[in-house]
């Protein structure tokens, strides 16, 4: 470097640009000696090229809102995998505005200039930050919203206290347009094996990116304004590599769910992480599970109706059985009282002119009577009547 300056000074010689960039490259090599450094910064201008496994971005250091330092950074294929790992572990999209700690090497290219090659991202730091941010939002909801409270360490919301109708027929669905989650939900609910029919009103919103929270909020409020129209609200998403849950931790979105007069079910497709939105309603993890829940809910009602009908048939059956028993008893009693039964025991019936004689005083000496025994009919003339 000193040698280059000396030549310039002595000979007033115009140098090729490459001599300067080569000198810069040498200086950087000497200073940093290909060391891996750990740096902290906010990421911005993230541009991913998944096919090539490259990602270009900028790292910023801010004081308040003012940018103090800015450096270009890049993931080449060797470090690119750490982005997916980061998104999976943190549940957040690697996108503008995130503060990250990462391992880097300082690189200089004569054409593209100074940059940091990112080799790995410290997910623990981001998870810690996100968790802190989430915790603050939860505390704010408990303290600032009349629809959210904490009971025995659990969040309790107005929405969770809402009773579901016996049958769910009309469902508002908030989902990203043309998403796997929405397709799964519709397929599951419209092709259910019981043949139940539902009235679906789908409101398409973005669920990631800057506009997502505002769109979600607008849709939830539109549903809340017409509570009599819906039995339930399903918020679904999922599928693919979508891992940005930031809108579902947004204070206003979460409070709108907590305050919504229509029971909210979330199936936002993440098995490990629970967003704050999940805690405000009823969390069912995936769109398919939400659809199945509604189908099973209606199946339980149909079962109850069927059980009631069976109870009715059983009551009728018992009643008829009881009446049959009564008839049998009467039949048996009548049988016991039949005159033939009496005759079988050795008694006899006295008839006069075909009529059973019930009053002996009506008979006189020399009257002709018929005496009926078990097997015989005897014609007789009365010789004498004695009172015993």
């Amino acid at each position: 470097m000193e040698q280059l300056a000396y030549i310039c000074f002595m000979q007033k010689h115009v140098l090729p640009l490459s001599a300067v960039t080569a000198a810069i490259a040498d200086a950087i090599d000497v200073y940093f000696d290909r060391q891996v450094l750990t740096v902290k910064g906010e990421i911005t201008d993230v541009k991913k090229y998944p096919q090539k496994k490259w990602c270009f971005l900028k790292l910023l250091e801010k004081q308040g809102d003012a940018i103090q330092t800015e450096l270009k950074a890049v993931f080449w294929s060797t470090g690119y995998g750490s982005i997916a790992r980061f998104e999976q572990q943190t549940g957040r999209k690697f996108a503008d505005g995130l503060e990250v700690i990462c391992d880097v090497m300082v690189k200089y290219h004569p054409r593209f200039g100074l940059s940091l090659e990112i080799l790995d991202i410290d997910t623990a730091h981001t998870i810690g930050n996100l968790e802190l941010e989430r915790q603050r939002t939860i505390e704010r909801l408990i303290a600032g919203s009349s629809f959210v409270s904490a009971r025995d360490g659990e969040l309790v919301t107005f929405n969770q206290s809402l009773q579901l109708p016996s049958v769910i027929k009309s469902i508002a669905v908030i989902a990203p347009p043309d998403s796997d989650g929405l397709r799964d939900f519709i397929k599951e609910i419209t092709q259910n094996s019981y043949g139940y029919a539902f009235r679906l009103e789908i409101m398409e919103t973005q669920v990631q990116g800057d506009a997502a929270a505002a769109q979600l909020l607008k849709a939830i409020r539109a549903i809340a304004d017409r509570p009599g129209r819906y039995d339930a609200l399903a918020i679904v998403r999922g599928g693919g590599s979508n891992t940005d849950f930031k809108p579902f931790d947004h204070y206003d979105v979460c409070e709108a769910i907590a305050a919504c007069p229509v029971p909210v079910f979330t199936g936002i497709g993440h098995d490990r992480n629970t967003s704050i939105a999940d805690m405000m309603g009823r969390q069912l993890k995936t769109p398919t599970k939400v659809a199945n829940y509604f189908v099973e809910h209606n199946m339980k009602f149909e079962d109850k109706v069927e059980q009631l009908y069976q109870r009715l048939l059983l009551a009728v059956h018992r009643k008829i059985s009881g009446l049959k028993e009564q008839l049998k008893y009467i039949d048996r009693t009548l049988e016991q009282l039949h005159p033939q039964k009496v005759l079988n025991k050795g008694y006899a019936l006295i008839r006069q002119e075909g009529e059973i004689v019930e009053d002996i005083s009506a008979l006189k000496i020399h009257d002709t009577i018929d005496i009926q025994t078990r097997q015989h009919m005897i014609k007789a003339i009365i010789k004498n009547i004695e009172t015993l």
Binding site: S170, L308, K319
Partner: protein
């Protein structure tokens, strides 16, 4: 806008019929009619659960 079938009302009516029959307050001559009423309610529930959404479009609450 069609009138919405009320599942809860149907269920309550069915329950009332069951309780009536179980309590032995139904004369034998009325039994067949009560069973038929219950059967209709069950069939209505089954049918309405499977009726397309448009038919259950509900009155919006003001």
């Amino acid at each position: 806008m069609t009138e919405q079938f009320e599942f809860d009302d149907a269920y309550q009516e069915l329950l009332r019929l069951v309780n009536e029959i179980e309590s032995d307050n139904v004369a034998l001559k009325d039994m067949a009619r009560k069973i038929a009423e219950a059967k209709v309610l069950v069939q209505q529930c089954e049918q309405q659960l499977r009726t397309a959404g448009d038919a259950v479009e509900r009155q919006e609450e003001q």
